[in-house]
Amino acid sequence: MSTTCDPEVKVIYREPETLSGTSMRYCPGCTHGIAHRLVAEAVEELGLGDRTIALASVGCSVFAYEYFGLDSIQVSHGRAPAVATGVKRTRPENIVFSYQGDGDLASIGMSEVIHAAGRAENITVVFINNGVFGMTQGQMAPTTLLGMKTTTTPRGRDAEANGLPMQICELLATLPGVAYLARETMISPRHVRAAKKSIKKAFEAQVACAGFSLVELVSTCPTWWGKSPMEAAEWLEQEMLPQYPLGVFKDWTEGQK
């Protein structure tokens, strides 16, 4: 019987190795950081770190190629699903995901995401819906709520003048090429855990060659919403979620069960 006190250390949480360890340039409390972490954790837990390629789109997350500890490609604004297609069709053994904002995906990149989904392209998209163009200083996004003030809707978004909020999951759900589709958020530990589960499922769909997968993450932009991170989370719950209800829109494994 030993009386030495060799400490046994069990890690409850540590940074995933699929992150590069570089500190991130996001504003304080911006959920981009959580989303990055979840993606990195999912990739690591699925053992895909050695063969996953990250695509950083144009938006606040443009530097994602610095943050992920993965082979990475920075791509042009909105075209990530096309680039991902080019990568995946050339290197089907790799896991390819794009990380895109709502300006990137739902505004300029609408065509590319729909066609990639329509082709049942075996790629995964992480879609950050924060209702605003963060990087360019808070202009309206297609996802901006009606009435919401942005730098290009100084009087609040008006349906007639500026169009209606675009619901990406609802739109993509109609396409048979989509294997996994879910909308999540990250405003509480419970939501974060659900988001991670969906992100994992999305990658699993790709591993199984089941088709296109996308997880929309309803996110905060404390800076351009003019709110503290905690306030932003509350506002998100009250204002964003009614327009962007959470849920799993498509799950290819459901049919299998």
Partner: protein
């Protein structure tokens, strides 16, 4: 006559505001003037700088590689930018946040702007103290023009703060006079 000033500080110190004030004041004095902020890719943090060039003629270059004068709000700014000050140039530094100035070939005017600002009533008008000191030392614009400029640049709802700002400007000018002796 071409007067160049380069101003630098950290976000929140109000460098851009006093840059604009100086610019507007020069304009009010009937001078030609340009104001060029360095905008940063990141939304937040990092240093803020601006260059103001005043001239009685067309301004010419709004950029200056080696400006003749500088207004520096903190040590980081001094470390990053003072080397570019023209030989024999003038640096007005905020001695509340600047402890070492390594160049000998220049004139340095140290202003304890924070102390003075708190004395006047608010930490947040340290930038005004600095501007007052600067215009005095550099003979850039008149205090009268600065007063007019304040009214234009400050949003209407802040006009109640005009007297305090003027006090800070004047106090800065006085400190500069004293510093030069």
């Amino acid at each position: 006559m071409r007067k160049e000033v380069f101003m630098a500080g950290t976000g929140g110190q109000g460098v851009l505001l006093i840059g604009q004030l100086l610019t507007e004041a020069a304009s009010q004095d009937g001078l030609e003037v340009s104001y060029f902020p360095i905008y940063s890719a990141e939304v937040r943090g990092g240093s803020t700088t601006c260059t103001v060039v005043i001239s009685d003629d067309a301004v010419g270059s709004p950029i200056s590689g080696r400006p003749a004068t500088m207004l520096l709000m903190d040590q980081i700014s001094v470390d990053a930018h003072l080397c570019r000050l023209k030989d024999g140039g003038l640096a007005v530094v905020n001695s509340s946040l600047v402890h070492t100035v390594d160049r000998k070939d220049i004139e340095v005017i140290s202003i304890d702007a924070m102390e003075k600002a708190i004395e006047i009533g608010s930490e947040r008008i340290g930038n005004m103290v600095m501007l007052g000191a600067y215009v005095q030392a550099a003979e850039a614009v008149s205090l009268g023009a600065l007063e007019k400029a304040l009214k234009i640049v400050l949003p209407e709802r802040h006009h109640k703060l005009l007297p305090m700002n003027m006090t800070a400007l004047e106090a800065g000018a006085e400190l500069a006079r004293q510093a030069r002796g």
